[in-house]
């Protein structure tokens, strides 16, 4: 084998080695970002960032199980090239249903307080204000009946307990 040939073999294999390395590094970041986005952005409000093979997830989800599921699907998008996943997803506080329809509350409060003749109620802006008096043994039933209407607040601060 001539020296020239030996050199060209070296050069070729060197090229191949470089090509392999560059090929591997090319999978990273922008390609990884696309891969992960492909699987996780079906959930609105989730964004993906990739740096040096480390995936960072951010945004808001509605439950802890959804938060974990998104992390797992991100890892699975390219488990070979993703070094790790930083899960910065935040679980949003649940939206609790509150009835602030005064007309609706007023008519329901009438039913709820029918058996409490010594109690008066007013409803304004979703707040039920209870005045008058009630026996100690019945105050819990009264509060349960009013809380069951899901108002914004039940104000019994001036109610007299007998």
């Amino acid at each position: 084998m001539s020296l020239k040939n030996v050199i060209s073999v070296f050069v070729l294999s060197g090229c191949l080695a470089v090509a392999t390395v560059s090929c591997k590094s090319k999978v990273s970041d922008s390609d990884l970002k696309a891969k992960v986005e492909n699987v996780v952005t079906t959930t609105p409000g989730v964004s993906v960032d990739v740096k040096d093979g480390v995936v960072t997830l951010s945004g808001t989800v509605s439950s802890e199980s959804e938060r974990e599921a998104i992390e797992n699907s991100a890892k699975a998008a390219d488990s070979k090239h993703i070094k790790s996943v930083v899960n910065n997803l935040v679980v949003a506080a649940p939206q609790i249903e509150i009835n602030s329809n005064d007309a609706d509350l007023t008519s329901k409060v009438v039913d709820a307080t029918k058996d409490f003749p010594t109690v008066q109620t007013t409803v304004k802006d979703g707040v039920i204000t209870v005045t008058g008096s009630v026996e100690q043994s019945r105050v819990q039933v009264l509060k349960q009946s009013l809380d069951a209407l899901s108002p914004k607040r039940v104000d019994m601060s001036t109610l007299v307990i007998k």
Partner: protein
Amino acid sequence: MALTTKYKGLIDIANSSGIQDLQIAEQVGVLHIRGTAPSADVKNKLWDVYNQLDPNFLSGDVVMNVDVSTAISGSQVRVITQNSNLNIRKGPGTDQPIVGKAAKDEIITLISRANDQWWLVRTNDGEEGYCYAQYLEPIS
């Protein structure tokens, strides 16, 4: 004091009692608690703890609306009026005519839940009509 601190005992019990769809959130100075308890006992326990932390519920900083999961169609419910009979009405509302009575502690059948306030029931005598749900306790 933050409401979540004041009511920590209540929140801890709620979290450890197997309540389905439990939601606890503070909104505009009021701690709202929602969910479905596995039994009437669990619901009663929550109310006991709440009463201990805020005697007679006078602070007005909690709204607790906890349902009981055993309150399903066809189940038995107990009349929990204080000492009087429970009115059974033709329709869901106190403006509806009374069609029957159920005695305190009587056990009757829940036919369906017309809404959160009014449940359709049947007594052992076959009387059918609507009762105020707060006076009916599911038997688990």
